[in-house]
């Protein structure tokens, strides 16, 4: 060992490097809401195109219910698993290695693709700004690369500074939504917003509502990422559930405000295909400082999302390396910054290459489907967790109420969303499924022989019931 001055002692005098335990509930909130909030600034509005404004509101609340179930289930399991990797670590202990490997891949791909999509948004915003100033055709690529490089550098340098920055920019982005809402004078209906004229019922019937569910995920996609911080929070039992649940409440408020303002100012035919709907809403409002504030909010939300996804993807990749599901070199911790530095550096070119494809639609759909597969896994995971470790058998920081109702609700909503995705992106859905099946075969027959089966389970859990 060349230098042990920054190491933590693991007992018995052995020097070990651990990820730095410095995070509190505010950081967990910043991570979860930071990843998601960009979805209020863009993406959610495709629900309007699928089924009209009322269908969008139904999707907003039904998918809100799906994610509330995700947050509750996740909070309970993670309050017992103080390990990076989040759902990966849960799956490894509760279901088994093959499920765990798949879940980790869902996480890494969902977050890395989301990161690329966020960087593409920053690039597009720069191009649009240049066009406003008379310089058309600005190449967005330098800004895509700069966003990824700068945020990866921040992540490399430490988790506390990363999530402190995320808290500030996420909070500013959230405030911009609230300011837009009040600027639209919701207390004086008809003065600025015109819901009565702009509501058109369900132009495509109830099938439009089902189709809207897929893009409804944009309102909340990524809140489950809070669990990746489990190993770096000072009190996992308290901080994780508190940060995740307050994050979910923030998103439910932000999503409803977003729908209300945008659907009261923009006709649904435009709103359903707009690139930056909240910024457009501000432009229609016609107050220059609010337009400027929403531009900043849009840019900050994209940067916060990319920042959080780098954090989460690198933790999932790091966990795979640490357990030898991937080459062990990825399980290294930086001795000074205590971050999974090799995983962070390795995923940079992956994110940039996704970003350079420019295929925002496909990248987002792959990301959504990977997330959806992860939520479906949670239902089986939770049922097995409660069976093998019933209440009282393991120290839980949070116990979600009404079990198994949230799990059943989550499963039904996941099935409905698969159907919605199949309607719009059937080929992509099947391709994603085929990809995960092939990679599972590779893992089972090729990679698993390198895993040290006993050493991957180091959590001090009691023996499960029935074993």
């Amino acid at each position: 060992m060349a230098n042990g001055e920054t190491a933590a002692s693991a007992g018995g005098g052995e020097q070990r490097l651990q990820l730095l335990k410095v995070l509190g509930p505010v950081h967990v909130w910043a991570l979860g809401v930071g990843i998601v909030l960009v979805g209020e600034f863009m993406g959610w509005n495709f629900t309007v195109g699928k089924g009209g404004p009322e269908a969008s509101l139904i999707a907003c609340w039904f998918i809100g219910l799906l994610y509330t179930c995700v947050a509750m289930v996740d909070s309970e399991v993670t309050s017992t698993v103080a390990a990076a990797g989040g759902q990966y670590a849960q799956a490894k202990h509760i279901i088994g290695p093959l499920m765990a490997f798949n879940v980790a891949l869902y996480l890494v791909l969902a977050y890395t693709m989301l990161e690329a999509a966020d960087a593409l948004v920053v690039g597009d915003l720069m191009s649009q700004t240049a066009a406003e100033f008379g310089h058309t055709g600005l190449d967005p690529k330098p800004y895509v690369v700069l966003s990824i490089a700068a945020l990866a550098w921040l992540n490399y340098r430490g988790v506390a500074i990363t999530l402190n920055v995320n808290f500030v920019i996420t909070f500013i982005a959230f405030v911009s939504i609230v300011v837009l809402f009040f600027a639209a004078q919701p207390w004086d209906l008809g003065a600025v917003m015109h819901h009565e004229e702009l509501m058109v019922g369900l132009p495509y019937g109830w099938i439009g509502v089902v189709a809207a569910l897929q893009f409804g995920m944009w309102y909340y996609l990524g809140i489950e990422g809070t669990t990746q911080a489990a190993e770096e929070t000072r009190s996992t039992r308290r901080s994780l559930p508190l940060g995740t649940m307050t994050g979910m409440i923030t998103l439910l408020i932000a999503a409803t405000l977003t729908w209300y303002v945008a659907s009261g100012l923009l006709p649904w035919q435009y709103l359903g295909q707009a690139g930056v709907p909240l910024f457009d809403t501000a432009r229609v409002l016609g107050i220059p400082w609010i337009t400027g504030f929403l531009f900043i909010g849009t840019a900050f939300s994209a940067l916060a999302s990319a920042n959080g996804t780098i954090n989460d993807a690198s933790r999932a990749w790091f966990s795979l390396g640490r357990d030898r599901y991937l080459p062990r070199v990825f399980g290294a911790v930086h001795p000074r910054y205590r971050t999974p530095f090799r995983s962070i550096v390795f995923l940079i070119p992956v994110a940039i290459s996704f970003g350079f494809t420019g295929l925002l639609d496909q990248v987002i759909t792959f990301s959504i489907l990977s997330g959806l597969l992860g939520y479906t896994f949670m239902t089986f995971n939770m049922v097995k967790f409660r069976r093998q470790w019933p209440i009282g058998s393991i120290d839980r920081g949070y116990v979600h109420p009404f079990h198994p109702l949230p799990v059943i609700t989550l499963f039904i909503l996941c099935v409905a969303t698969y159907f919605a995705t199949f309607l719009g992106y059937g080929k992509t859905l099947l391709s994603v499924m085929a990809f995960y099946i092939v990679i599972s075969v590779w893992f089972h027959f090729r990679r698993y022989q390198f895993v040290e089966r006993g050493s991957q389970f180091t959590m001090p859990w009691p023996r499960p019931q029935g074993f």
Binding site: A10, A82, A130, V145, A150
Partner: protein
């Protein structure tokens, strides 16, 4: 060459510096510390850090 062209070059240069910094530091750390030490992390060990050197 107008302001936006210069900004483009600046974005490339800053990106290159940041990426190079990370790659060089990764190699430096890997050379300076033993692999066993860098890979010594274990999940589930609730260890209080001795310092807060967090960049």
């Amino acid at each position: 060459m107008d302001f936006w062209d210069i900004l483009n070059y600046l974005a490339w240069i800053v990106s290159a510096i940041l990426l190079a910094w990370m790659v060089i530091d990764t190699f430096k750390v890997s050379a300076e510390y033993s692999e066993d030490y860098l890979l010594s992390s274990r999940e589930g060990e609730d260890i209080i850090p001795e310092d807060d050197d967090n960049g």
